[in-house]
Amino acid sequence: MRQHVIELILFSTYAELRAERARNYLGIIWWVLEPAMMMGAFWLVFDVILKTGGPDNLAFLLTGLTMWQWMKSCITHGGYAIWSNLNLIRQARLPLIVFPLVQMLADTVKFFFIFLLLVVILWLLGHPPNKAWAALPVIFVAIFLFAAGGGFILAAIVPFVPDVRFVIEQVLTVVMFLSGVVFALTNMPEHVHAVMQWNPVAGLVDATRGVVMYGRWPDWTALAKVAGVSALVLALGVAMIVRLTPRYPKLAA
């Protein structure tokens, strides 16, 4: 049973990526081209036109956006996965966590391609790989746990209240700007800054920047805290989905 589910998850992830590749004329190139274009747009606005940052601004911006895009796509794609597969869920008895998980894994595979591009760009910008890169796998695990936690919780809720989709996009945009993804959070009032210390996205993005730009080892305690809380949220999301499983096939079409 368990092996069968693992096979289903892996093959579905492969199918998802494969279908996406076949869907567009340029296929797999879009995996990298689309985020590259978005990075270009942000670079144009914030670096060239508004001149918001210092000398390292481009590396700062690209690293932030790469990590944020991965989190965001896992949260939204995973979050909508059960809702968008309700037709299938009405016809087959499958463990429902498969649907969000497949989306998150597919997004993670795509992230690795984008991250490779980022590595090349960072190198060209004068940030070659360093010893602290050994910490990246741990940071990535923490990020995945965090994004998957959000994704599973949303996946459980969205089928009942599909309207929250409209809110999610806006909330995520706000979170992006408040997490130092695009510009550093140094100009904020003191009391806002204090609250921001608790923002996990900011912590995770900063940890990644510290490693790839400055060769700085992450704050292990902070990372462990984020990973631990994320794991709890993830467990809650999975439990909600399992608990609500009998109700999804009975929702109105």
């Binding site: 069968h4 093959f11 009998p246």
Partner: protein, 236 residues
């Protein structure tokens, strides 16, 4: 082991949400259905459109849990023979066969082993390795049926899939499915074709408006069913 009860339903009711909006009510697709399915039995479910036949099959498949009543199930695999389950348009016939097979409960190595048979049965030839978006709808159904027929659960649940594709493939798929049913599998069949039901089932369950009206041997249930239909016609 013949005669052992595999699944038993006692006064089962299933309610669906009527609408998506806030405070939307429920409607009962099944109100009160009881049945007992024994190993090796081939049970036909009859009743008019909207009687709850497909809902009943999904309860038997374990997709829907009852909102009232009780389902008792032995340690058996039940599978609804859903056609084109999980098919993705941009994937090849081969990849879709594996994906659909996995969703129908097969292990990957079993499906891979049966791919040549699926390709052969579907008569797709080289199209088997082309994306199914380039297929005609008949070709998609041929592939879908060829995959579904590979599944061998303890209890086969069939909802009007006896005829797919063109006349020739209908003949072929119908024969394959009948063959499978005759191999002594336990089967629950929903069909509007009285000819099929008569040919394939030994027992019948008649449901109307989500309630079981009668369960028994084929001939006596059909006799009562027809009597009631005629009464209904005479009344209008």
């Amino acid at each position: 082991m013949s005669g052992e009860t595999l699944i038993e339903l006692e006064h089962v009711g299933v309610a669906f949400s009527a609408t998506r909006s806030v405070g939307g009510g429920h409607y009962w697709a099944l109100e009160d259905v009881s049945l007992r399915l024994k190993r090796g039995e081939r049970l036909g479910v009859i009743g008019r459109n909207g009687a709850g036949k497909s809902t009943l099959l999904r309860v038997l498949a374990g997709i829907l849990e009852p909102d009232r009543g009780r389902v008792r199930r032995g340690p058996v695999s039940c599978q609804l023979l859903s056609l084109a389950l999980g098919f993705m348009p941009y994937l090849t016939g081969r990849d879709n066969a594996v994906l659909s097979g996995l969703m129908l409960g097969l292990r990957q190595r079993e499906i891979v082993r049966r791919l040549p048979a699926i390709r052969e049965f579907s008569e797709l030839g080289d199209f088997f390795d082309e994306p199914i978006q380039s297929y005609s709808s008949g070709m998609v159904m041929r592939l879908a049926f060829s995959v579904a027929i590979q599944v061998e659960p303890d209890v086969m649940l069939i909802d009007e899939v006896l005829a797919v594709g063109d006349a020739e493939f209908q003949e072929k798929s119908g024969t394959a499915l009948r063959e499978r049913m005759r191999q002594g599998h336990t089967v629950v069949l929903v069909s509007h074709s009285e000819k099929e039901v008569t040919a394939l089932c030994d027992r019948l369950l008649w449901i109307e408006h989500g309630r079981s009206v009668m369960e028994g041997d084929r001939d006596s249930v059909y006799e009562a069913y027809h009597q009631q239909l005629h009464l209904g016609e005479a009344a209008t």
